[in-house]
Amino acid sequence: MLKCDFHYQHADFILNVELQMQQQLLGIVGASGSGKSTLLKNIVGLLQPQQGWIQFNNRILLDTQRQIHVPMHQRKIALIFQNALLFPHMNVQQNLSYAEKLVSKPERKFHFADIVDLLELKSLIQRKAHQLSGGEAQRVSIGRALLSSPNLLLLDEPLTGLDNKLKQQILPFLKRMKQELNLPMIYVTHHLQELEYLQADIVQLNQGQLQNK
């Protein structure tokens, strides 16, 4: 599972993280500006800590002392952003296949059809990104991330920007993912209710420091 101990600084903001993730769904709650997205970006490899290490399933992804830095595309960690960005020149099927084709057949964890069923995407499959509602686009982006067969899925406030009705539509999908897929996930949000609904183990991020809740 995920273990990390690192220090990241940008201008005045300091993030000190010491984390051992053992559970399948870890929820991180924190106010805006507490460093939630920064934490995920460090784990996925978009940002690089000045000092420390990150390890997943005994594989070292980053170690500043030994100058090890596994590039983002080799980490097998998928990140879902707040705004569900799909590749605009592809339809839903192509967006999903894009991720699937990046993984060799023997390494694929999920079947295309299963993910389409799980997230109820069948009726959307020929639509272009701009023809989807926010909630539909977010479901596709989750499906696309799953089809990249990650070892760890990071969700960065995936329901932000959606109205309550859409949130209530997507949360059950996330719960099904937790129940049906054996995939470790970190879910970051500033809405505690979402994490409670998903029955996640919750830690709090406060001004760049993780605290047990």
Binding site: V44, H73, R75, L85, P88, S148
Partner: protein, 227 residues
């Protein structure tokens, strides 16, 4: 109907413009990408050099090309030894067109890369796409409107190129006499005005068609992207 001389000028212009566009394209995409995505110390110098052909008198450019690529020029003498002759040759007209039209091609390409949402790169990277794969599968297809626009501008500008071309490669029928040079030649001849006027009309039709094609291609692509 067009006379053999007019047809030759038309064929030569189209050939020169097409080669200039095709050869410029990879350089324009590479430079457009680099300028859009990277900051470096001497960027201001690259920017100034890139824009230079737009502000220099075309005759000056032609003369510089002659000094560099003429048969006895700094570079030309070595190319000559390899059997490559650019001065007073249609290939030289391609080089002159490439240099004059290059800034017009780079700018739309660069803007396309610059305006692209860079989070798409991050998403593709986190899905497992290597940087080269992200470039080919995400960045390049999304830059197509800029690439098409740049190519059409380059093609149209090459069709109209006169000053640098006549200085570097001269005015040789069937070799370097493109439409603008042919218009100039006919205007110098007694009773050549009618032919010159037909070529002017032809130039207008070609340039206008290229810009209309540009409009429809962009419309089609924007519909595809839902923009």
């Amino acid at each position: 109907m067009l006379s053999p001389e007019e047809l030759s000028a038309l064929y030569l212009s189209a050939k020169v413009a097409l080669f200039a566009t095709v050869f410029s394209l990879p350089f324009a995409v590479a430079l457009g990408w680099y300028l859009a995505r990277y900051e470096f110390r001497l960027k201001f110098l690259v920017e100034a050099l890139l824009q230079l052909p737009m502000v220099l008198p075309p005759v000056v450019l032609g003369y510089l090309l002659l000094v560099l690529f003429g048969n006895q020029g700094f570079i030309g003498q070595y190319l000559n030894a390899l059997g490559i002759q650019l001065a007073f040759n249609w290939k030289g007209a391609v080089l002159a067109s490439m240099i004059v039209a290059f800034p017009l091609m780079v700018q739309p390409v660069r803007l396309s890369f610059q305006l692209m949402n860079q989070q798409l790169d991050q998403i593709a990277g986190s899905l497992g796409a290597a940087p080269w794969k992200v470039f080919w599968s995400i960045n390049l297809p999304l830059a197509i409107p800029g690439i098409v626009m740049g190519s059409i501008l380059c093609f149209s500008r090459s069709l109209g190129e006169f000053g640098a071309t006549i200085t570097f490669v001269g005015n040789i029928p069937d070799e370097t006499r493109t439409i603008p040079i042919a218009i100039y030649s006919f205007l110098q001849q007694p009773n050549g005005e009618d032919t010159a006027m037909r070529l002017v009309a032809l130039s207008l039709v070609l340039a206008f068609s290229a810009l209309i094609a540009n409009y429809f291609i962009l419309q089609k692509y924007q519909r595809k992207l839902g923009a």
